[in-house]
Amino acid sequence: MYEFTYHKPTSIADAVKLLGADADAKALAGGQTFIPVLKQRLNKPSAVIDLAGLGLSGIRAEGNRVVIGAMTTHHAIATSPDIAKAIPGLTTMAGWIGDTQVRHRGTMGGSLANNDPTACYPAAVLALNATIRTDKRSIAADDYFQGMFTTALEPGELITEIEFPLPVEKSAYAKFRNPASRYAMVGVFVAKSSAGVRVAITGAAQNGVFRHKEMEEALGKSWSPDAVAKIKTSPEALNSDIHGSAEYRAHLITVMAKRAVAAAG
């Protein structure tokens, strides 16, 4: 990696100030994407602002919501009894990210800020109608994801918490892993909650996570794997690479949706 100045602020205000003061400064959450990018010299920040000292990790109940701190690790989410009880689909999802080492470092906030089109969390956040809280405001999931590696975050804006409304009646995630990287080649999160029935697809589309309205409608009428079994997705705008064509990904959306619905019960 290139040389940079390292900062570890202890307050959100200081972190925001440091980021605001330098257009080439970058925030470091768990670093499971960012550190490899730095090591490959694909990014040359002047400063790295480590968010580990801001007290942003933790899972708590807040009225009819579960609130997850942005710096909460995948491991903490995957092993939280509260999450397992309230949103089992999220437990499954967190437990399937990367490997043990990655899950102990990687964070939900880091993943959402990066919005990799093959990341898992965007599907959960969108399907569960979560709200992204930042140092400035709250952003609804439907407004937050704006395409590949693009979000509603403004420069220097920090995610502080992610808020999941309860109750969640049903939730499940089914992931077809990219055989090499083990990111989602197609990941489908299905949920039935106060926000209604939602189906979010990650990994498949060029523009990242999206809601599958046709499946939502079908599951709204009848919550069963059969309800989505015949629904085909257009391969247009889906990814195509050496691991799978757009047509294959389109097929996998149906396969994974069926599995997710079956798992949700």
């Binding site: 077809f176 055989p179 090499a180 050496i242 691991h243 294959y248 996998l252």
Partner: protein, 796 residues
């Protein structure tokens, strides 16, 4: 101590230091005053270098030197040599274009070294390398075999017409043509053997050092330090052996990729001499992908002529194989003498003819990778056997059994040069059928079907040739080296033993297995046996470890040296006990006078040898230290039967190996636990090749699978428990009777896996699919679309 000799599954002596993180790998070695090299590599497959502006890099902080190919040339260094020369059908030698240490004039593959920056730190070298300004003129790139041999294809090397390295053949063409003329049936199959990236856990690394006396030391991640000393000293640096020491300390996996003499070894050694400072280079993983020699990469057409009863009459094979952009050290022999000579397999096919055309492309050089040529042969034959059974409506087990070389036919001369010394293919087949419960498959298939999964079973009955090799034979086939092995058995004064071996352990467990041979033959506990390898200053000589040769050849050298120790010990014992040497017997570490109760322990004899107060000094030299060179009489021929069961998800097409059984004939087993580990590791790589691994280039020669984000390595979770068994016949021509086990797993398994996949897809009418059998390929077959067909080979 419990039993520690031949046949004991003792725990590996070396694992203590590996598990505790106390291994000593090349990157752990740091010399005083050490500098760091970073190599700027070509980012494009094929281009003319119009100029390299090194000024800014040379001025960068901490930089000691920047060298390009012209500096290497100006110092009179040679190119990287090729150790094997193949001759064309017409008797002319193969095309052997220059392989510069650092590119001169042109770059020919992504990863080709263009310049090296040497600086105080790795970081400084890397920073400075970005300041190099390279003026390229891009040239059209050749990425694959068919492009290379197409009419009007771009040239990888000036002067190598049609990109043909060689056009070689073996066997009796007329006999084969005649047999095809009278055949009842001919079965033809086109198949690809996919290109693989070796991916040893430890990336390559090299440290060059140069002392005040002008002597060089190279620490390198090598499977054969003496070979590197010979090749680099004699051909590249022009430094005599006496002034060049090569050390290969702990090495974390090789699989063939660390056999070869690589540019980086020459660069750091030469630069250390020039700068009078040690120089270190360690590959980053992305460099490994683009600079370690790749494996496989064949396209073949195979045709079998059969009579009405299903007997194999003749085999005709045409293969195109990829050499990459340059000839790696042993590349030319892999698709010829390690491949086409194995095309008899375990079958008594009376006539075989194979043509092999090796071509240059703008890709990383291809050389031996675990199995080297033999996996390609066994894949071709064992897929063909299944296709024959399918096309002719025969049972695939019975078809094989019917065509096996009979048990009483050994030694068996094949029509493609090799003479098999021993084997019993019926025993390994029957053993595997039983261990795998072949008969009970149908029940398991139904159970899988109830879960929505397609289950298939497949087998391969394979053979390989290893224990390479008789020097005079390989010499006549084009090897520019001998392939014997060397061992010293040094019995110390108090009876402990050092074994100096020219074999090299990079995961195989030699420190244990070789100690067990000493325990067996000399009665010394393995705790008192030290196995020394990997240092040209300590070991008399050696040809290294590859081709499953360490035990069959290196172990045989040890036995020869042990025999010399025992013979000398008998003479010392005879003197001490006032008996005749002919009356001395040696057993369990004791020399005794036959028919008496008088005996001397080995330690008493060794003490007398080193403190020769009472010693036959007129007849015998002091000391108990013997060296032997062993040149094998023949190859060894491990073989066996692998049976694989897969389950395919009916909806996604994802195949998983759910059962795997390997029953191998590997001759005498020294440590069954180590054998099991070797077979499991080989099977893991074979399953990887069959279902996952694939080095993909785009049409211009850009490597698309340049990292683990895109290159699929098998993980532990991708594999079931693997059942490993042996049904061994002894090798008849080496003193241990051992055949070798390092490669059998990778050779026998890929066809078994693909045969199982095809079997699982029995309802879809599929005859063949090329590796790797990815979920999408299988899914598209299940959609009724056959795998996209391959156009006929352009080489016809």
């Amino acid at each position: 101590m419990g039993f520690e000799g031949i046949g004991a599954s003792v725990r590996r002596k070396e694992d203590g230091r590996f598990l505790a993180g106390r291994g000593n790998y090349v990157d752990d070695i740091n010399r005083p005053g050490q500098l760091y090299a970073f190599i700027r590599r070509a980012d494009r497959p094929h281009a003319r270098i119009r100029g390299i502006d090194t000024a800014a890099a040379a001025m960068a902080p901490g930089v000691h030197a920047v060298f390009t190919g012209k500096d290497i040339e100006a110092d009179g260094l040679g190119g990287l040599p090729c150790g094997w020369q193949i001759h064309n059908k017409d008797g002319t030698p193969m095309a052997e274009p220059p392989h510069p240490v650092i590119a001169v004039g042109k770059v020919r593959h992504v990863g080709d070294p263009v310049a090296v920056v040497i600086a105080e730190t790795r970081q400084a070298a890397k920073d400075a390398a970005e300041r190099l300004v390279i003026d390229y003129e891009d040239l059209p790139g050749i990425a694959n075999l068919r492009q290379a041999v197409a009419q009007g294809a771009a040239q990888v090397h000036d002067g190598v017409a049609g990109n043909i390295c060689y056009d070689w053949h073996i066997g009796d063409k007329d006999a084969v043509d005649a047999a095809f003329g009278r055949a009842a049936t001919v079965v033809k199959l086109d198949l690809t053997n996919n290109r693989l990236v070796p991916n040893a856990m430890e990336p390559r690394s090299a440290v060059g050092d140069h002392d005040a006396a002008g002597d060089y030391t190279l620490y390198t991640t090598s499977q054969n330090p003496h070979v590197i000393r010979l090749l680099m000293g004699a051909f590249v640096l022009h430094v005599p052996e006496s002034k060049l020491r090569v050390v290969a300390p702990d090495v974390g996996g090789g699989f063939g990729s660390k056999i070869y003499h690589y540019a980086e070894e020459a660069i750091v050694t030469w630069a250390a001499g020039k700068l009078k400072r040690p120089v270190k280079w360690t590959a980053e993983r992305n460099e490994s992908f683009m600079s370690d020699a790749h494996g496989r990469d064949h396209e073949s057409t195979a045709e079998m002529a059969l009579d009405e009863q299903g007997n194999f009459l003749a085999l005709r094979v045409r293969t195109l194989c990829n050499m990459g952009a340059y000839l790696s050290t042993f590349a030319p022999c892999v698709p010829t003498y390690l491949y086409a000579t194995l095309l008899a397999g375990v079958y008594r096919t009376p006539a075989i003819y194979a043509e092999v055309k090796a071509v240059f492309t703008n890709t990383v050089p291809v050389d031996a990778y675990r199995g080297a040529g033999r996996p390609e042969a066994s894949y071709l034959l064992e897929r063909l056997a299944d296709v024959i059974a399918r096309d002719t409506g025969r049972d695939r087990v019975e078809l094989r059994r019917q065509n096996f070389i009979p048990k009483d036919a050994f030694p068996y001369q094949t029509p493609v040069a090799l003479q098999y010394d021993s084997g019993d293919y019926f025993a390994t087949l029957d053993g595997a059928l039983k261990a795998a419960d072949w008969a009970g498959f149908e029940e398991r298939r139904k159970q899988s079907a109830a879960k929505g999964k397609l289950r298939g079973i497949g087998m391969s009955t394979y053979i390989e040739a290893c224990g390479i090799a008789p020097s005079h034979v390989v010499g006549s086939l084009g090897a520019r080296a001998g392939l014997y092995e060397v061992a010293t058995i040094r019995v110390h004064p108090t009876g402990s033993v050092s074994v100096l071996t020219g074999s090299h352990s990079h995961g195989q467990g030699h420190e244990t297995t070789f100690a067990q041979i000493v325990a067996e033959k000399l009665g010394v506990p393995i705790a008192q046996v030290e196995v020394v390898h990997g240092d040209t200053q300590k070991i008399p000589f050696g040809m290294g470890t590859y081709g499953s040769r360490s035990l069959a050849v290196g172990g045989s050298a040890m036995v020869k040296a042990i025999d010399k120790v025992v013979a000398k010990g008998k003479r010392i014992a005879a003197h001490l006990m006032e008996a005749s040497a002919e009356d001395i017997e040696f057993k369990d570490g004791k020399f005794s006078v036959a028919g008496t109760d008088r005996s001397k322990a080995l330690a008493e004899i060794s003490l007398a040898a080193y403190v020769p107060h009472n010693y036959p000094i007129e007849e015998l030299e002091p000391g108990l230290d013997e060296t032997a060179f062993y040149d094998p009489k023949n190859f060894t021929f491990p073989g066996g039967c692998h049976i694989c069961e897969v389950e395919i998800e009916g909806d996604s097409g994802m195949a998983r190996v759910v059962r795997f059984t390997a029953v191998d004939d590997i001759g005498r087993v020294i440590n069954p636990m180590i054998v099991e580990g070797q077979v499991q590791g080989g099977v893991a790589q074979g399953v990887g090749q069959a279902l996952m691994e694939n080095a993909v280039y785009d049409a211009n020669g850009q490597l698309l699978t340049g990292s683990f984000m895109d290159y699929t390595m098998p993980r532990a979770e991708d594999l079931p428990d693997i059942t490993v068994g042996t049904e061994s016949t002894m090798c008849t021509h080496n003193p241990l009777g051992s055949k070798g086990c390092g490669e059998v797993g990778a050779i026998g398994s890929p066809p078994a896996v693909i045969n199982a996949v095809i079997d699982a897809l029995r309802d879809y009418g599929v005859r063949h699919l090329d590796m790797p059998a990815t979920p999408e390929k299988i899914w598209s077959i299940m959609q009724g679309g056959m795998q996209p067909g391959r156009p006929a080979m352009a080489a016809e």
